[in-house]
Amino acid sequence: MIGPALFFSACLFAIGVMGVLTRRNALILFMCVELMLNAVNLSFVALSKLHGVGGQVFVIFVMTVAAAEAAVGLAIVIAVFRHFRTVDLGALRLLRG
């Protein structure tokens, strides 16, 4: 079952990338990133059947980091929204040269 799992993982990752590239909403972008992380997690779990439980341990770490990232990221989104009254990344042009 490793092969199909990896296939699904690749598909999910590609969909995540597509989402990041097509959307401007900061929240949805974050969700896309979460989707990509999940895709990677699937690979980890699938490969842990071959290489031992280290892969599953890594999944736990990835989830922790994802949780931290979501917390900080969403806080930033809230701060941005307060400032710009929108979460559209197209509006964030302060860094524009």
Binding site: V20, L21, L95
Partner: protein
């Protein structure tokens, strides 16, 4: 060495103190010139309407400063310290010389102070070598140096740069002593460069005048050519002989066959260095210009000591030249040609210092003829006597120039060229002491019997004739020309040069001291004799010029007139140069007394004939002052313009260099390549990259996401395909 040198434990151990004393003087005087309220050097002549012509005279901006009543704040302290350190050094070296005479010892007394360059097998020490040759030089440097320092007190006291002058002069003595005392070539080279530096500093002492500064630069640059030769010679010595100290080089040189190419190359490169420092063809051009410096400087550096360093170096390296007759003959040729060439120029010079400058070049040529022909003693002997009478002549001319300047100023007269002999004349009435002393020097340089120059010059010519008659040198060949032919030729040229020397010296004396005074009406009553502090050293030098030749009286003289030891200097220098002298002379029968006497007679005839010719032909009364003098024509013009050598150099060397510098180096390489392509080019490249980078930094997260995605795509593609 197990054998204890007879000089160890004596006062000779203190030889290091001789250069250290002037060095202290340099430090103190240098500090004076830095700390005091120092007036800006010479006043700019163009800003001073009362001295319209002083730009041409070169010498004595000092007096203009006097006009404003300034003396340096530390003038009194400098007056004591400046000369005192040299006089102390002279007393010390005299004591050492006395010990040396008493204790004897043929081996050089070498003192090592520290290691300088410990590089593998190359071991160069800071070491002094005291032997008979360096002792003579040390005595000359400190002795003549003391007299010139004392003279300088009178000559330079009014100058605002007085302590600076003495600082430079002291420093010069330090380096000159290092030059003659160095026990290996690198130490000599340090002194060699050091005296070059001091010479540069002192020639351009009144540096706010462009001519003086240019003259300093010219001396420096021309000397570089020679120094390059010296350096190459040292490199060759090290790579081929593996030694740089004199003892080591001498031991190794003896193992080479006579005429060895390597040694000849080393000797020729060394001689290139000597030609630069001692103003021989073709590098003599800096010396006449060097007269831009204060006259005591000309006396000390450009007549008595520094310019004779080349002669000293050849005598010092006699063990090398002994192996190479070709190089020795080259030295003879260059020296002889220089001697007659410079003498002919001196015939038509009007500037009193230029006459003396060319005379110095000519006399240096004599010395080189001497050392080149293997008559090292004769060369050094002439060096010694020349130091006496040429220092006297320069100091005397300094005293004249000093008097002229003061007269112009005190009389508020139109400021003519104070060094032009056409503006002088009749000075014997106002400056009797200077007149008398300078006549002694003139007789000495002309070679009139019993004066010092007679013995030394006669010895060079006599030795030359003897060598031509039959010696190793005469048997050698120089580019196919037999050595004896060359030696005979240069004996003849030497006689002609002696004849010319007598003429131009008498001419100088006649125009300066005799006839009517041609200076400005207003200035004339103010002409006066120099103060005692200046005439005193002149008197001492006059005595030395008169009797200095007695240090090396020839055999024929003492036979008839037993007044002194026969060939004292010759025996004194025997341990140093004796071996080389015999090597170049070869086994030859002693010249018959009659031949020797006829040679002497020829020399005397030349000297007296020259004086007489000049006396009869030249009419000082016909001269007019420089401003009214008509331009010279024909040969006289060629001689007056010094064979147009400077113009030739300007045309063939300087102008092309300037042209290449301006078009290729400046416009092409500097502006085009370095500024344009490299400096501005790299700036534009950076700006271009920055432009591209700035476009990439859109500040939009989406664009960055795209960039990351494409990058990942590319990377994974590489992994997939690879």
């Amino acid at each position: 060495m197990d054998v204890v040198h007879p000089l160890s434990g004596t006062i000779a151990e203190l030889i290091w103190l001789v250069p250290v004393l002037p060095f202290l003087g340099f430090l103190i005087n240098g500090a004076f010139s830095l700390t005091s309220a120092y007036l800006p050097g010479p006043l700019d002549p163009s800003s001073d309407p009362t001295s319209g012509h002083s730009g041409h005279t070169g010498e004595f901006p000092a007096l203009q400063a006097t006009h404003h009543g300034h003396r340096h704040r530390w003038e009194k302290a400098t007056t004591i310290i400046g000369p005192a350190v040299i006089i102390l050094g002279f007393l010390l070296s005299a004591a050492i010389a006395w010990t040396m005479i008493q204790r004897g010892g043929d081996a050089p007394f070498i003192q090592r102070y520290s290691t300088w360059m410990p590089a593998g097998t190359l071991q160069v020490d800071w070491a002094f070598q005291l032997d008979h040759l360096s002792m003579v030089m040390v005595l000359i440097i400190t002795g003549i140096g003391s007299l010139i320092h004392i003279f300088s007190v009178g000559y330079m006291r009014e100058d605002p740069g007085y302590p600076r002058y003495f600082a430079y002069l002291n420093l010069f003595v330090v380096f000159m002593l290092a030059l003659v005392l160095g026990a290996n070539y690198p130490v000599i080279f340090v002194g060699w460069e050091g005296v070059g530096l001091c010479s540069y500093l002192l020639i351009g002492f009144w540096f706010s005048d462009t001519n003086n500064a240019d003259a300093g630069k010219k001396a420096f640059i021309v000397n570089r050519v020679g120094d390059f030769g010296f350096l190459i010679a040292m490199f060759l010595l090290w790579s081929n002989l593996g030694a740089l100290d004199f003892a080591g080089v001498a031991a190794k040189a003896a193992t080479f066959p006579v005429g060895s190419g390597v040694i000849t190359a080393i000797c020729l490169f060394l001689f290139l260095g000597c030609a630069g420092k001692s103003a021989q063809m073709p590098l003599y051009i800096w010396l006449p210009d060097a007269m831009a410096g204060p006259t005591p400087v000309s006396a000390l550096i450009h007549a008595a000591t520094m310019v004779t360093a080349g002669v000293y170096l050849i005598a010092r390296s006699s063990f090398l030249f002994a192996v190479s007759p070709t190089a020795s003959l080259t030295v003879v040729i260059v020296g002889g040609v220089t001697a007659i060439f410079a003498a002919s120029i001196a015939l038509k010079q009007w500037d009193i210092k230029k006459v003396l400058a060319y005379s110095t070049v000519s006399q240096l040529g004599y010395m080189f003829v001497g050392v080149g022909a293997g008559a090292y003693t004769a060369g050094v002997f002439h060096l010694v006597t020349h130091a006496f009478f040429k220092a006297l002549l320069f100091l005397g001319s300094g005293s004249i120039i000093h008097a002229m300047h003061e007269a112009y100023h005190e009389g508020h007269a139109h400021h003519d060229d104070a060094q032009d002999m056409r503006n002088m004349g009749g000075l014997r009435h106002t400056m009797p002491f200077t007149w008398a002393f300078m006549w002694i020097a003139t007789l000495a340089i002309a070679g009139v019997p019993v004066f010092s120059g007679f013995f030394s010059k006669d010895e060079i010519l006599g030795q030359l004739f003897e060598r031509a008659h039959g010696s190793t040198l005469a048997d050698a060949h120089w580019f196919g020309i037999p050595g004896s032919a060359i030696l005979y030729l240069f004996y003849g040229l030497g006689l002609i040069t002696a004849f010319m020397t007598a003429i131009y010296m008498t001419r100088m004396m006649l125009y300066t001291f005799h006839g009517e005074n041609r200076s400005d009406e207003k200035a004339r009553p103010h002409l006066h004799e120099a103060p005692w502090i200046m005439t005193g050293p002149l008197a001492v030098l006059a005595v030395l010029s008169a009797v200095g030749g007695w240090v090396n009286l020839p055999e024929w003289f003492t036979e008839k007139l037993p007044v002194g030891r026969t060939e004292a200097l010759h025996h004194w220098l025997e341990p140093v140069v004796g071996h080389a002298t015999t090597a170049l002379a070869g086994a030859q029968p002693p010249t018959a007394m009659s031949t020797e006497l006829s040679l002497v007679a020829a020399a005397i005839a030349c000297a007296l004939g020259g004086i007489l010719t000049a006396w009869l032909l030249l009419k000082p009364a016909k001269l007019t002052s420089a401003a009214k003098a008509p331009a010279a024509h024909g040969v006289a013009r060629v001689l007056e313009r010094k064979y147009f050598v400077d113009e030739l150099i300007q045309m063939l060397l300087v102008n092309p260099v300037i042209r290449v510098s301006r078009t290729l180096l400046w416009r092409g390489i500097d502006v085009g390549l370095i500024d344009g392509l490299m400096v501005n080019g790299s700036a534009s490249v950076a700006r271009g990259i920055a432009w591209v980078g700035a476009r990439a930094q859109s500040g939009l997260v989406g664009n960055y996401a795209w960039a990351i995605a494409l990058g990942v795509l590319g990377l994974v593609a590489v992994m997939t395909l690879g």
